[in-house]
Symmetry: D4
Subunit: 249 residues, 8 copies
Amino acid sequence: MNNDTLKRLLRAVASGQTSVASAADSLQHVFVEDIEYAHVDHHRTLRKGFPEVIFGQGKTAEQIAGIMEKMNAQDDRVLVTRLSEQKAAHIQALFPQSVYHADARVLLLEKTPPPICGRGPVLVMSAGTSDIPVAKEASLTARAMGNEVETVYDVGVAGIHRLFSHKESIERASVLVVAAGMEGALPSVVAGLVNRPVIAVPTSVGYGTSLGGMTALFAMLNACSSNVAVVNIDNGFGAGYMAAMINRP
Amino acid sequence: MNNDTLKRLLRAVASGQTSVASAADSLQHVFVEDIEYAHVDHHRTLRKGFPEVIFGQGKTAEQIAGIMEKMNAQDDRVLVTRLSEQKAAHIQALFPQSVYHADARVLLLEKTPPPICGRGPVLVMSAGTSDIPVAKEASLTARAMGNEVETVYDVGVAGIHRLFSHKESIERASVLVVAAGMEGALPSVVAGLVNRPVIAVPTSVGYGTSLGGMTALFAMLNACSSNVAVVNIDNGFGAGYMAAMINRP
Amino acid sequence: MNNDTLKRLLRAVASGQTSVASAADSLQHVFVEDIEYAHVDHHRTLRKGFPEVIFGQGKTAEQIAGIMEKMNAQDDRVLVTRLSEQKAAHIQALFPQSVYHADARVLLLEKTPPPICGRGPVLVMSAGTSDIPVAKEASLTARAMGNEVETVYDVGVAGIHRLFSHKESIERASVLVVAAGMEGALPSVVAGLVNRPVIAVPTSVGYGTSLGGMTALFAMLNACSSNVAVVNIDNGFGAGYMAAMINRP
Amino acid sequence: MNNDTLKRLLRAVASGQTSVASAADSLQHVFVEDIEYAHVDHHRTLRKGFPEVIFGQGKTAEQIAGIMEKMNAQDDRVLVTRLSEQKAAHIQALFPQSVYHADARVLLLEKTPPPICGRGPVLVMSAGTSDIPVAKEASLTARAMGNEVETVYDVGVAGIHRLFSHKESIERASVLVVAAGMEGALPSVVAGLVNRPVIAVPTSVGYGTSLGGMTALFAMLNACSSNVAVVNIDNGFGAGYMAAMINRP
Amino acid sequence: MNNDTLKRLLRAVASGQTSVASAADSLQHVFVEDIEYAHVDHHRTLRKGFPEVIFGQGKTAEQIAGIMEKMNAQDDRVLVTRLSEQKAAHIQALFPQSVYHADARVLLLEKTPPPICGRGPVLVMSAGTSDIPVAKEASLTARAMGNEVETVYDVGVAGIHRLFSHKESIERASVLVVAAGMEGALPSVVAGLVNRPVIAVPTSVGYGTSLGGMTALFAMLNACSSNVAVVNIDNGFGAGYMAAMINRP
Amino acid sequence: MNNDTLKRLLRAVASGQTSVASAADSLQHVFVEDIEYAHVDHHRTLRKGFPEVIFGQGKTAEQIAGIMEKMNAQDDRVLVTRLSEQKAAHIQALFPQSVYHADARVLLLEKTPPPICGRGPVLVMSAGTSDIPVAKEASLTARAMGNEVETVYDVGVAGIHRLFSHKESIERASVLVVAAGMEGALPSVVAGLVNRPVIAVPTSVGYGTSLGGMTALFAMLNACSSNVAVVNIDNGFGAGYMAAMINRP
Amino acid sequence: MNNDTLKRLLRAVASGQTSVASAADSLQHVFVEDIEYAHVDHHRTLRKGFPEVIFGQGKTAEQIAGIMEKMNAQDDRVLVTRLSEQKAAHIQALFPQSVYHADARVLLLEKTPPPICGRGPVLVMSAGTSDIPVAKEASLTARAMGNEVETVYDVGVAGIHRLFSHKESIERASVLVVAAGMEGALPSVVAGLVNRPVIAVPTSVGYGTSLGGMTALFAMLNACSSNVAVVNIDNGFGAGYMAAMINRP
Amino acid sequence: MNNDTLKRLLRAVASGQTSVASAADSLQHVFVEDIEYAHVDHHRTLRKGFPEVIFGQGKTAEQIAGIMEKMNAQDDRVLVTRLSEQKAAHIQALFPQSVYHADARVLLLEKTPPPICGRGPVLVMSAGTSDIPVAKEASLTARAMGNEVETVYDVGVAGIHRLFSHKESIERASVLVVAAGMEGALPSVVAGLVNRPVIAVPTSVGYGTSLGGMTALFAMLNACSSNVAVVNIDNGFGAGYMAAMINRP
């Protein structure tokens, strides 16, 4: 249910075509469906402009499919993140039109791709090759929420001339998402080059004192550039979502 | 130096009024001044739309005053953060027109207040009374960067009806800054109510397992709402800066 | 052996029907049985009102079965927690009347279900779908100890209206158990709505800075509501046990 | 305002003596007063049976006094915790009838002591002499909430016969609060002796690997007795509050 | 080579039967053999009274066998710790007279059992059933170094009467080794009962805030009894070795 | 009260000179005195062979003096550790015969020095000059418990020839206490030279990654020599006590 | 491309044989090749004197092979580190002349071995047998960069005479690399013996409080010898690279 | 005593001018002087080419002066680090020719400045103004050990053009020392520009998640450039010493 459907219903109530009781019932049903193991929150589409996203980790394939079925009945697209290949296989058997991106562990069930509506391009960058899966989760999310997305990969600070060769894309971007593991320095450098908001995503790439991404996270929170805010380790989805939220027209 | 001054200079070069060599000299000087203990980066005003901010902690009052002098010569306003009362007294003696906010530890030297130019109001909230200094640092920063700022204090999640009585302000805001210590739950709840970006600021308020703000930080990074990004502990300045960046028209 | 059996024995001693020596022998045996790798503590049923529970993790299936045999001879019910499916299969072959709950990893060997005896209903809530196994361990434990248990799942703080739709259950409860991972904010919000004790259970659900449940744990220990106490990460059993202890008539 | 006052008002509304509008106004005022730096939550007395407690740390003496004034107008008692001697002096000058307990850093402003109404005595124990301030904060809180409180101090596990000499008090208690620093072992031992709920309070007493109370906290969360739940480090107030909540008749 | 062999050789040098050069050669060889991946330190038997022990973890089966071959040629017994079942199978094929204790992951190659020579019995205790493997590593080590060893298992502090039923063994012991996971409280209680040295061994038994044994370790280092010293987590071998060292006549 | 006094009393009971009731009374009094803020444990002298030691930190000067008074009435010596200079001044005014060692923060109240009774000399070593206070706390304790003590200071591993020049003392020692901060390597090296037990004491000397002594602690727990056990950071008292316990004849 | 090739090209430009535009094109191509998932940085050979090394972990075998193909076309040797056996098999099928060192997880593709050009021998030491793989990664790297490398393994500080028997090698070395796990004490001792730079490599060898190498790392950063600098845990490659950099003539 | 003095003495022994016994005596004295609280290691000048440096923290002013007196008798210069202003005043009264650098907390007692003898200039950089004290400790040390030192301050990565304006100094340097706090990214960027060894010094500048320098430390250990090695937090002395060691001709 989107805003249009809602308004139609309310106008019917206003005009007396639909009784209050029946409208309430149908809205109640429409908003939150309680299916034993989950409260599917259709209200979110109204409140947020994008349906609830299913966090695949820690849910069984059966639970995910059950939630998808309810959402699919009312929403234009369903996004499942952190979905293992094994569960994806189970789900694609039930929803053959869904597309699974194995490296980003994202599944997208989409009737039609959304029109581009952001204020400008979202640029998604990764410091290394190993950070690409996280960057991809971000770009798939931002694209699914109606944004033009550009990507630049493997431009870590140890060879800073590689970064500068993409200056044009950097300056054109409306919002930037920068994924980096190890010392997590890239967002600080990039943010120093632009006057746009930068969403930094620490990744768990590295070993030893990278501490599973904690070092990159802490480094990013200490970025000497001030136009940086940070999301959880490996949370490409959150970065893409936040970028889309900022980029709303 | 702002964009207008720069363009005037460049037009003079274009028209032959000013030689390239002399323009380069004056620009070089204008951009980065090296004063032994600091590189004052005037270029930032052009690049970022806001002059470099002086981080007061760890600098001597003399160093801060030295940098302010250089900036004051070229910029409309100078913001000094994390400035102790003792250093502030030293500086206010030199810059009598500056205003010091003791609770937020912020000093502002401003010729004229900037016109409001953001896309909508920035709402700054605090979970408790003790989080107000951090919230204030955020609101002073956002205001100094040309934003209309609203504030709501002491609306923590333990008495959630207090929060709901401010629903109107929450829904009107273009960007939200939410400061909270202890369990850091407020940003998650607030973000669940809106479809706008929320900048979460963990504060060091609490004791024991609040771990100096780390618990609030980690909780915010795990917010189940996706429209949340986080800045460093007690970094009210960064939150206000990021909000202003997002709120640019 | 329960209080009745004990009193019968003591009356026999008092009346001279049983000699002190023989009573001591039988009590000694009854209280603590030393079976090489374990001291089975039958005394606990007298002392605590509920037999010792077997913590399955780190014990071999043979050791667990050996302890169950001793307990089964004297107690009305035996609860085994943290029992892997593999060990459960081994044990169910020996105790076919036992019931295994795979998601909660709990095995219950029970002659008759205990009568309801608590002061009121125990409400067990989970913030997300992935927290259900921990919540279930709590509800199975509380039920096995003679309590009426209600459950409400997937009502995290990001969509707080989902929580409010269960206000009635919340207000009716005598004790509440609230399981949450990630930012662990739910207990704080729930505790703010009631004047009953809330037992918070952090779960290891999440990734990155959820730190395997440490973030939820620390957040709960910092709950701004004061009617909250906390148990170990993923310790559904402990939460259910503590709730039952509080709920004694 | 307590339940009686509320009911009187509502009856007046029911009988037409008071108009709905005027009742709403007065209730609105009664429930939450917004005094710039704080939302004083009178509603809590109704919701929780005990007025909001003022957490003194991080608030100025002026802010605390301001909140006290509002609460004092409507509540029977006001409790301020974590109050430094310096702020206490400021406040006692304004509220001469208030009593300050310097070791527990608690100030109590109380018209009449509350009648005893708990189900049985609350026993507050400390492992060492240095843990007494935290234990005292717990016992003052529980007493202020209408409970009979017994105390036993300095009975750490290294001389376990000291503990056993208090077995009678231990067995008589309805709820137990056990404060311990260093290795935090006392709650586990005490809980093993009773079938009543034990609230464990880790204290920051110790040095080196006591890690400011984290070791005691973690040890308590790992107590092998199951009738234990834990509150934050040095949170004597929370322990006393939770004990009172559990002990309600 | 033991002290006797050494003395014989030196007497031969003294009497002129053996030349200095040839003695030096043979001693050089005897003391440290360099076999590419290891310096086998025969000198240790002289220096320490017990041959070097092979730490199996992180070495290949081939490397372990190579070192054993060198040691076996000169020493009465070889102890291999932290040896996986798979590597043990490989080694037992080469040294069929060796004995492998799978639960303690210890392999012992021993020509004759050493005579008992300690000052009194070493008592090895475990708090739970799951701590037995670590306790066993300690008792095997102490026995192999010539000590009488007694064991008492599963006497954790939650049921303290189980502990007291072994008071006789506790008081008879010359040195005590106490293994415990979770809250690690047992060493503190036991040490309070005796005036003998207690070696505490934290184990990694537990979950959540047991932090893989760190909580037990820190608790033990904070034991309020002073006759306690601690070894590394799960280091049963070290505890047994240290106990033997203390127990030397 | 020591063993002799106790036996005299018991013989009087046996011979009928003293009634059981009066003996019990006097023993009860003798064993544990409850003085509001402390249970003075005279029983410990019997149980441990050394009276309870007063841990000065966290107790007021008044509390310490109160406990000393009780102990002084029955014991030959009283040791107070972690005593600040300020509190020491207060106490020395009341007990003028007491001796305060400011660097080790130890106060000793001793009628006569105890005779030497250990199995051999205890050697106390420090890695650096800054570790001397901790080493001194250890040597004062061991001496007060009847041991001959030798000391060697400032022999850290960076100039290992300094260590070897004390080889004779090292080899003569019956037990060794080794205090070290920073990288904490000295115990490992020293233990490799002897076949005697080594008690390692990490100190908080260092900065940055010395983490207040945690690094030295962890390094010592990982000592590749097996004849090492460890006490808490800066716990010179515990090391000296443990050494004395091991060195009993 | 190396310096010679570059100079030839530039001379061709200088002499007019090659146009500026065509040279720029070919240089552009030569410097950084963008192959979707990676920016291959040929420029590094010029800038650093050694081609970019491929960090194998987190890249697919296909990605590694793709980067190798590009590098192989221009560089004399390609080094791949942290390469699993499985990926190595895939790569060796494509580059049959490459050599894979399974224990060090290093693959080397080298047309001709580089001539020795360092200032003196690089000595690589390991404290234990289990540290050899890391030491080997260091020595393979240093050798591939044109250095004479000596190795000494298993000379930990617990048997310090083993170390001294290699004094000659130690004193001859121009730079030293010292790998150690557990307590990480070896670099401190070795650095105390020489006046050459020592690169310390902590390894993850150990268990319990070795904390996956963090303890060794922190100990090394606290080395009381000042001629020590440290690289990441298990970073044998970095140590060898840094040693080569220092050893340049 | 330096190498020349030593050789003169040895030649006198060789020629019979000095007896072996008397030479040994004088050497023994010369090498290590034991002054109760310290072993002054004169041998180090021979072994290391630079006298032992006095770490001022944790030593009393009297102890420092005592050690200086011994060193001053034999060495050309004495360096004291981490010396508080208060202790410095005490020492300068005794050694009026010494120079104290208050910001770097370094005192230098030097007869004549050492001649420049390194392979090239050492470049010391700082990321911010607040990092200057640490950078200064490094440059004073390197200069005192005979190196030409250049400094560049306040060139953090957020304004990367400031860094590039010093490219010439960067490329000329033989060794680089880079001090940075907060996110610690500067060494990685600088190391990417040169093929010289970079010594990275994390500083404790920052707040919140800078964790007292741990974040910068971990980031530097994860530098994606390989020509970086790291010293302890705020260890400017160690960085300067290591740079001098590397720069030896």
